[in-house]
Symmetry: C2
Subunit: 299 residues, 2 copies
């Protein structure tokens, strides 16, 4: 019951985000149009749009009109897509498939894929300062939200995490290092997506802290379940070959702790995440359902 409710909520938000992505993606491009085509190809290749949805959910905890922050939410998806395009490159994870379709450098070429990633990352910040957002949201809150996201995906966030992930390949690694990699590569951005929405809604400081703690748990659940699905999932549903982590000797929770212990930890994290939300009471219902839904993916 919970599952079908949250699924239809996510579906509804996903279609709102996708319409907004269409609306805000730049048109034209003339002699450089190829890079717009490549960016749009990857941006529209599907995906759960979970980061923009988390941003809208963070905002809706405090204000009803979340369409006001759609440009910001779309910017988050641009950043996510850029990170996938660059991660797939031959010198990085060298993945030919993404969501069941050729990855960007396969559908276009390497130079175009690098530029498409660069362009999407830049587009994010153009959208974060889009006039449709600015005329409706407090400018200081916008700046604070941009800073939060930039830190989460920067040299000491997602980019640093991807660097460490590459360096850890094929090596024995500790749980401590793996935790650091996940926290930087995935968790910080998921946490920032939720928290930026609350910041844009001028949420009280103490509740931002609550959401931040919860977001860190949710992000970790998300990543660990991804690791499990790579081992146990179905290629068709995932749209990419399974066991790619194993092949590349990636550091993952199952590779260090085994499948059963990883499942146990996920359940523990899920309980902790739900406990984090207690102070928000009934308002946090959707976030609770989302947590249960995401942690159920592994079964």
């Amino acid at each position: 019951m919970i599952i079908s409710e949250i699924k239809s909520f996510l579906e509804e938000k996903r279609s709102i985000v996708e319409r907004a992505l269409d609306q805000y993606f730049p048109k034209g491009g003339k002699y450089g149009k190829r890079v717009l085509d490549a960016s749009l190809y990857s941006l529209k290749a599907g995906g759960k749009r979970i980061r923009p949805i988390l941003c809208l959910m963070g905002y809706e905890l405090y204000k009803p009109n979340s369409e006001d922050i759609l440009p910001f939410a779309c910017g988050l998806e641009c950043i996510h897509t850029y990170s996938l395009i660059h991660d797939d490159l031959p010198s990085m994870d060298d993945d030919d498939l993404r969501r069941g379709k050729p990855s960007c450098h396969k559908a276009f070429d390497e130079a175009t894929a690098i530029l498409a990633g660069d362009g999407l990352l830049t587009l994010a910040f153009e959208l974060f300062t889009h006039q449709d957002l600015i005329k409706r949201v407090n400018p200081s809150a916008v700046i604070q939200a941009i800073n939060k996201v930039a830190k989460a995906v920067g040299l000491k966030g997602m980019v640093g995490g991807q660097m460490a992930d590459l360096l850890a390949e094929g090596k024995r690694g500790s749980l401590k290092k793996l935790h650091w990699i996940h926290k930087h590569k995935t968790v910080a951005f998921i946490e920032a997506s939720l928290v930026s929405g609350a910041i844009l809604a001028s949420a009280p400081k103490d509740e931002i802290n609550i959401l931040s703690r919860f977001g860190n748990k949710l992000g970790l659940i998300f990543q660990i379940v991804d690791d499990l699905l790579d081992l146990l999932g179905d290629e068709k549903t995932l749209g990419k070959p399974i066991k790619s982590d194993l092949k590349r000797q990636k550091l993952t929770y199952p590779s260090i702790l085994g499948i059963e212990e990883t499942k146990r930890i996920t359940k523990e994290l899920t309980n902790e995440a739900l406990t984090n939300l207690e102070p928000l009471g009934e308002r946090a219902k959707l976030l609770k359902d989302l947590t249960l839904y995401l942690s159920e993916r592994m079964n």
Copy 2:
């Protein structure tokens, strides 16, 4: 006389910018430290720091305390450095040397260089929203300046220009296409660097328009002189092999119009740029001297 004055002005500003870059570059990085090392390697490889200096000059036309916007100015240099790192990659311009030193992917490796570029681009937006800036500059002006820069370096700016530049290699091209490429790849960012400084100082709209027209001329002079120096310059002074454009059959002004006609156009553009500045009177003296200085580089 003019030349030695502007040279010492540029030198002074350059050292202020470089101190600020040291101050604002993130420390630490733990398991991902390699990407911070690579970013810093390229950021500190030298260069004229012309974009941050133009930003400070745009600000100083209206307000004296340009140290207030140093985080923003440093962000512009981060973007410039990211663009050089990615342009040098094997799948792009494939340059092994940059400013007399191994380019980033040679000193480190390709994956690290891609990530270093990504990290520097992201760091720019972290610096554009740095609290040292925010506590001193009007937040709406900051947002407007970020939007200006993001557009200039994005899919329909610098990134689109680099795409078109790559696509034009080895092909016959029109002056119209070359102009489009230069405008997008180089000029828009130089113009935005100057104009963003004026925006941060809350300059009047009509003067921002004047600076924008001037900045477009200055950027074009800058690029054309670069094209000429690649043909006529000295490898030691440039820190890279000359005639690389010729080798890669790049579309340049000299390749289409010849050297003499290109020099004539540069002089014409210089006069137009100086005329653009007339309405600003004595306040524009430094910008005028800078224009003359940059256009003299070709002799």
